[in-house]
Symmetry: C2
Subunit: 209 residues, 2 copies
């Protein structure tokens, strides 16, 4: 199985992705030509296309790496979330935000989002959508955990509530990546201001009026 050919293939793919992460970050997605990646990865242009179907495909592979990191970070929060409901929700949201710029720049995020909207039926569009869904599901899981603890009202369905929270944090993230001047700190503060009031509405044993 692990013959020479297999090893070489794995190595080439790794080199191409490595080149992409480096060059996209350094020069911007748009400015980087496939030939630049090929040069850095020491393969030909044609070979890049043997491993990735399109330029957007290479970007999406990077997005997938990033989102895996984000999901991992989220899992850590899920295992032992803060006591207070608002703190717990914000802990997860901030974990997402804090791990969102590991491999990707704002420009890369914008391009990936644009790609997913423009061609939702392609493998890439579907892949992005699927990553979104996993994040929304993790948010729902957190709500479930809090409900099991008894800190979130029993009469709420964790799934749509998680989706609502995710839609909001995602929309706010979109505003963030659309504005090159907005800092992570401003993003955090805004979402904080939005989320705490909502959290008050869903805590158990409190009258809502």
């Amino acid at each position: 199985m692990a013959g020479l050919r297999e090893k070489q293939k794995a190595d080439r793919e790794r080199r191409i992705l490595q080149a992409a992460v480096t060059k996209f970050r350094a020069d911007g997605y748009r400015a980087v030509r496939i030939e630049d990646l090929a040069d850095m990865a020491e393969v030909s242009v044609g070979t890049v296309y043997n491993y990735y179907q399109t330029k957007g495909d290479i970007l999406m592979a990077t997005v997938a790496m990033e989102v895996e990191e984000v999901l991992d970070a989220g899992l850590t929060i899920l295992t032992d979330p803060p006591e207070a409901v608002d703190d717990a929700l914000l802990a997860l949201i901030f974990a997402y935000y804090d791990h969102s710029l590991e491999y990707l720049t704002k420009e890369m995020w914008r391009t990936a989002m644009a790609l997913a909207i423009e061609a939702p039926g392609t493998p890439n569009g579907r892949r992005y959508f699927e990553l979104d869904q996993r994040l929304a599901a993790q948010m729902s899981d957190l709500v479930q955990v809090l409900q099991d603890r008894g800190t979130v009202r029993r009469d709420l369905d964790p799934r749509p509530l998680g989706v609502l929270l995710f839609n909001n944090l995602n929309q706010m993230f979109l505003e963030f990546v659309k504005d090159d001047d907005m800092t992570l700190d401003v993003l955090r503060r805004r979402v904080d201001a939005q989320t705490r009031p909502l959290a008050q509405l869903i805590v158990a044993g409190t009258a809502v009026h």
Copy 2:
């Protein structure tokens, strides 16, 4: 002022836009080449670029036309909205949806949205964002009208509420254009189901629990 040159310029621009609306609808934005538009408008490729900076620019001009129609339709609702709060909100939302496919196809909407996200700092991105804001403002205006009438609770700020409603209808519209198989009717039903419960929460003189 209205010399020969001016007339010719206006006429060329009109012909190019007309060609774009026709061809984009018939063959799809992606499939249409600038040369096709140039041929139909009886100008050269270079001339197309004297009137529009990029291919996306031509699309955005079409989007602007469409949104003007949508805003007009909305204004009609604003002058005499239905009595019930939920009916009034839905009347405006449906007016938007019903006028959204006059000039644009789903593919064209997707492309325009992708463009606006990918390049938010360009004239086109800003233009799209601005159109969005005008729609959100109109939704806020409707809430204001209803509040003035006394059917919406006094203690709510119409502006963020309008933005929330717009964000939701916009998000739902995004889902609609992402799915080529979804009909306008399904979109309407979904938004109806989302909006009526929310409307109940904001009507005046009703206890919320």
